[in-house]
Symmetry: C2
């Protein structure tokens, strides 16, 4: 099959990559999305090598569950051991022996086929398009915040960052909190937020400091943590969505003096994300940027790296 894999140094298109043969459910990939994490992996984050891609929609080709065959599906990306306490609680996302689609010890979605355990798959209703369905995975990561933090409607909320994930997070937080300010950098990206009723700011001024009850760092950059710590009120909560933000010299003293709660947040469950797309309470159509063939993966990645680009897709 055709597949784009990362050999630890560079991305390579292989037209004769071995098809998955794991006994898991086999899915033909209809469309895959390029995510910030993919761009980080190409920089060496996670020390992953293999087929990249963890945002996808596909059609089931082979499965022990015959009812699934021919169905259009998306898939939870963490596959657990099915034995540990985490797996028993439905938290395969934290199984110490997990594999993660296109991220950790498991080939991903930038290929004609992928395989996943049957229980990871969710059938997608016809009302959700392929492009929309690819957003289920990042949208689930946005809904994860709601699972971890008891959101209060009266809170003043700041989202630092204006990228793809930030825009999904803002929409999800809007369902509970009306007073949201986005601190961004890119005018094109910010325009869609203004239309959605979110206040936007480029740069933090002194009146913003220590004035938000909840701050989400969704920058994917080193400055995000520092900015979030400037914005948060004493006793407030900062949600950390950027693993990149963690690699520089950080000063946690203000978090202790001001009794800040920092919440690390990663993948979420798919169901609330699918429901939100099916009912239309979250909109992703304005985030569709462009579709590239698998053969044009290199152009696609270069395009995805540009600051004003929204979601870029690969079509096998």
């Amino acid at each position: 099959m055709k597949a784009v894999y990362f050999d630890g140094e560079k991305m390579i298109l292989d037209k004769n990559y071995l098809e998955p043969n794991s006994g898991e459910t086999l899915v033909r990939v209809n469309l895959a999305g390029i995510c910030g994490t993919d761009l980080e992996i190409i920089q060496g984050y996670m020390e992953y090598d293999g087929i990249l891609g963890h945002e996808f929609v596909g059609t089931v080709e082979k499965s022990d569950n015959s009812k699934l065959i021919g169905k259009r599906v998306v898939g939870e990306i963490n596959a657990g051991c099915d034995k540990c306490d985490y797996c028993e609680k439905g938290m395969e996302r934290h199984c110490p022996d997990r594999t993660v689609l296109g991220i950790l010890k498991r080939n991903g979605a930038f290929a004609e086929f992928l395989s996943l355990p049957e229980k990871n798959l969710h059938v997608i209703p016809d009302s959700i398009s392929d492009e929309q369905a690819v957003f289920v995975e990042p949208l689930a990561a946005a809904f994860e915040i709601e699972e971890q933090v008891p959101l209060q409607p009266q809170w003043g909320v700041a989202v630092v960052g204006d990228g793809r994930l930030a825009q999904l997070i803002i929409q999800v937080l809007k369902l509970k909190c009306s007073n949201i300010t986005c601190f961004g950098r890119h005018k094109t990206k910010l325009q869609s937020l203004v239309n959605g009723g979110t206040k936007i700011k480029v740069g933090i001024d002194s009146s913003d400091e220590q004035s938000f009850d909840l701050v989400v760092d969704a920058t994917g950059s080193n400055s995000g943590f520092t900015d979030a710590m400037k914005l948060i009120k004493p006793r407030g909560t900062v949600v950390l969505k950027s693993t990149v933000a963690s690699k520089e010299h950080l000063n946690l003293a203000p978090a202790i003096i001001n009794e800040i709660t920092l919440v690390g947040s990663r993948c979420g469950l798919f169901k609330p994300a699918i429901d939100a797309l099916a009912t239309g309470i979250v909109s992703v159509d304005f985030m569709v940027d462009s579709v590239f063939s698998l053969e044009s993966f290199s152009d696609a990645i270069e395009h995805a790296k540009k600051p004003d680009t929204l979601k870029v897709f690969l079509k096998p």
Copy 2:
């Protein structure tokens, strides 16, 4: 009056320091405690200069409230502006314009007299000795954890550190959680914990990693944060009690990947601490080390710095 002050570089005994004359309640200091924070301030932390000391018990000399005169009191160390949202909610601890006894813009307790707003003072029942009363302030900081984190009895809890604050924290957590392990370094200090039913370990081995639901860093050292991150389970909570731990190169990526919640924790309210000492559910007598005169402050500080020393007092 006699007072020991820090001039930004060194500690100085002044026998003719001006008595407080603020119009606040005037307290004659019976006994003051030396805390890890005092030792940090002497190293330059907080950029404070003035009279040190924030743990004390004293007798009211002058007050607008005549009922207080002659009463034995301890005092909340944060004094707010009485106007902001935090002060209105009883959270003077987070008032942006606060002063803090012996720490921030307010002379402390290593002196014959100190002053505080009347509302900061709590009368101490006769059943609590002077030595015990000095522990109210650090014990309140231990109870603060309970106010911030909903403790679950079935949790496995680790406390990193075996110093004065760690020992108070362990006793407070024991009131809700029976399964507590202390990771320490100093055998003398650890002995008292064994007697209290706490498991003790010197050094972390692989079976300890990612195995605790709650970890409290009470080391006051750089290694505490790193050790806490090793011990905490995915989705667990780490309470940060050490401002020192924040100054080195920290990697927050594991906190995001494992969705750890980090809770900065500082001062607490005094009432639960006073009640705990009055009813005897927390014991501090074994932590009394030695009493020095104010004139011997230099010896007292050197003694307090030694790793196996428990609480050292200054008596004006």
